[in-house]
Amino acid sequence: MALDQSFVGRSYPPTPAYEVGREKIREFAEAIGDPNPAYTDPEAAKALGHPDVVAPPTFAFAITYKAAGLVIADPELGLDYSRVVHGDQKFSYTRPVRAGDRLTVTSTIESVKSLAGNDVLEVRGEVHDASGEHVVTAWTKLVARAADPEQDGDA
């Protein structure tokens, strides 16, 4: 089922603040196997000009994707989440996420398309810190694969 074009441009309310902790950044850096000391050693981060340890560039996704969940689960939009795969991902940074940040995400539906029976949804998540300054914007393209006619009766 094609998604409703009128959803393009719809914004969702900012999320409650996500507080970024040093140990969460360490846990994430270990999980991606990245030993860069800027992620775990405040002195190393300071030597690079950061006030505290910074998060790996893709860490922001953990926060923005949770926020995008509001969009994905919007019953009015009608996206079939069981068929969703991650198509594209892009980030644009004003500065790296760092320990001590209190981040809110505002999600906006950037585009809605139907390609070869697949629903393609692009969500923009704008991340701001507690002082309202921009930190990073994440664009996430989700593809809901066309329903299998043999299983679901219609394509």
Partner: protein, 142 residues
Amino acid sequence: MAATVAYDEVEVGTELPAQSFPVTRATLVQYAGASGDFNPIHWNEKFAREVGLPDVIAHGMFTMASAARVVTDWVGDPGAVVDYGVRFIKPVVVPNDDEGALIEVTAKVAVKMDDNQVRVDLVAMSAGQKVLGMSRAVVRLA
């Protein structure tokens, strides 16, 4: 920001040191926990096959994080990354054995831009197939 690579020392075509990243099922379980992405296609073989995948697959964001390392290790400061985007074109299939899969990443400088920035184009392969497309990072150099 404190990039360790000088803009004046790189040219279009300059290759970044290539790296390979092993991925096992244990890697995916650890990444699921750290990222909060518990989609069963990343740890449950039965579920993955039921939704039409050949086996458990790596999180796309794990592959994206691995590819980013080639850039951040080169430049030193992860804060030097200005833009970073990828397209997920093939999954990284991770069999349940001791070896798992390997993500092989190469990168080179594609464009020298204003303001000491360069665009780096990345290629990520696994099992002989390109897994990331349109994979580009803009980095501010010293």
